[in-house]
């Protein structure tokens, strides 16, 4: 289980209805179903991940977020989750709007591009960072909209999106003190609970 997913679980009420955008192999939804008894629906486009998620007994719909989410009625889910997909969609701002139209609250996680290692890599080498965490070259990466903690909060401000809570994951798992004190510099992954 990825670390950001263990963090966001506590924001999801037991027995609630959850839409997971880009649910992958369904590991997180399954855990929510077992530990939180949620009624979940996952969206995914990768055929093999869809089959794995279905094998877990989950409800999965093959749908590309970039083509819109207009088929989901307003306020039809308690929580809409999008973990590590914001940077991979064509129109992150529209997806955020849709998330908060469909769900009463949204949970978003994304890699913080302003982490000091990224800055150091870019600053010293003058090239787009490639790391264990972001293992792609610039020309073949699914991550087409990298942003920083500050960028995301500025977008929320601009769009009237309320940040109900945030949590930061740093380099070390134990004590994310630095990451929470200076997130834009030390957070590897940013986690937000948002609503209208």
């Amino acid at each position: 289980m990825r670390l950001d997913l263990t963090h966001i679980q506590r924001w999801i009420a037991p027995g609630s209805k959850v839409l997971d955008l880009g649910c992958g192999n369904g590991e997180f939804l399954q855990r929510l179903a077992v530990e939180r008894q949620v009624r979940g629906l996952g969206l995914e486009i990768d055929p093999e991940k869809i089959t794995s998620a279905v094998a877990r007994g989950l409800n999965i719909v093959e749908q590309d977020m970039d083509a819109g989410l207009g088929n989901f009625p307003d306020q039809s889910f308690d929580t809409v989750v999008m973990a590590h997909a914001l940077q991979a969609v064509h129109f992150p701002d529209r997806v955020l709007d849709d998330m908060l139209r469909i769900g009463r609250q949204g949970i978003v996680t994304f890699p913080n591009f302003a982490h000091w290692r990224c800055r150091l890599y870019l600053g010293s080498r003058g090239r787009m960072p490639v790391s264990r965490f972001m293992p792609y070259n610039w020309y073949d990466t699914p991550n087409i909209h990298f942003c920083t903690v500050k960028d995301f909060e500025a977008l929320c401000e601009e769009r009237g999106i309320r940040i109900l809570a945030r949590d930061m994951v740093g380099n070390t798992q134990r004590r994310p003190l630095l990451a929470n004190a200076w997130p834009n510099l030390f957070a590897v992954t940013a986690i937000y609970l948002i609503s209208r």
Binding site: P47, S52, V54, A55, N59, I60, V61, P73, S76
Partner: protein
Amino acid sequence: MKTSSVGIVTPQRARFDEPLALACGRVLTAYELVYETYGTLNSARSNAVLVCHALSGHHHAAGYHSAEDRKPGWWDECIGPGKPIDTNHFFVVSLNNLGGCHGSTGPTSINPATGAPWGPDFPSLRVRDWVHSQARLADRLGIDCWAAVVGGSLGGMQAMRWALLYPTRLRHCVVIASAMRLSAQNIAFNEIARQAIQADPGFADGHYLARNTVPAKGLALARMVGHITYLSDDAMADKFGRDLRSGSLELGGEEPAEFQVQSYLRYQGNQFSGSFDANTYILMTQALDFFDLAREYGDDPVAAFREASCAFLVLSFSTDWRFSPSRSREIVDALIAADRPVTYAEIEANEGHDAFLMPIPRYLALFGAYMQRVRGAC
């Protein structure tokens, strides 16, 4: 015979003497349904799966009728030990629908009122008539609730109708390459097929059995048209291209050239017209045309699906233009809006509508994964 086959199967017959009131207003006083079963019904009677057939299908969905059979049942790719509908775990029931021509009561049966074959006087049927008759077969077999009702194409329409008419009698509804109603284009193709049959002098207004004629040409033509719509452009290109079966296209020669696709279509048409009843074909295409899932729910599919209480698996195929992925998306969107559990995938496949009968790896894997979930609750 493949090792993963259900092996030799024997059709069974159930007679029903309780009159069946039909959607058209007429009553069928008695009727018979011929069916096959594969696998074993468990003691809780909770592992039964109903397979609904498509336009030209029948009860023989899996296995062989004899050791000499060259071809297995029509859905042998999906039914059998270790296959998506795993007969090591499920008890599968597959029947020939009412109005069919493979043993169940239909236009070729004797009308008890006249002592002659029904022919064109056989009552017009709707999908719901099949569902009601299937429910009686379930009663007869002691099945209160199907683990799943499964169907492709017209079979998918029956599965969806089951979910609305008998919501407590199925836990899962599997709808493959289907639609909530046909498009005008679809109805148009069916009309060409019917016209081809009716224009054949051998059809004799449907009384060909009494007159001892056969509308073979018309039925073959109907099948040829249908067959083209079940394949994709790509599939036909792959299979035949512009290959010639005989003759040549060289300049300076008058020898007539025949394309492979021509002889293939003729073969398919002739095979079909030798084994299918023309009145049944008309009846089945009309049931297909008339089906409209949401008609009596104010034309609102969301309201319709609110009647259902089962979970749904919906599958479509990328090159299927007869029942295109967007028709399946309409089903999925309505289910999402009705807050019903739904799983959906569009399978990349070259084979057009016929893909639902083919061993496409992703299709079998996903279908199998879903059926494992169905099994978990048995």
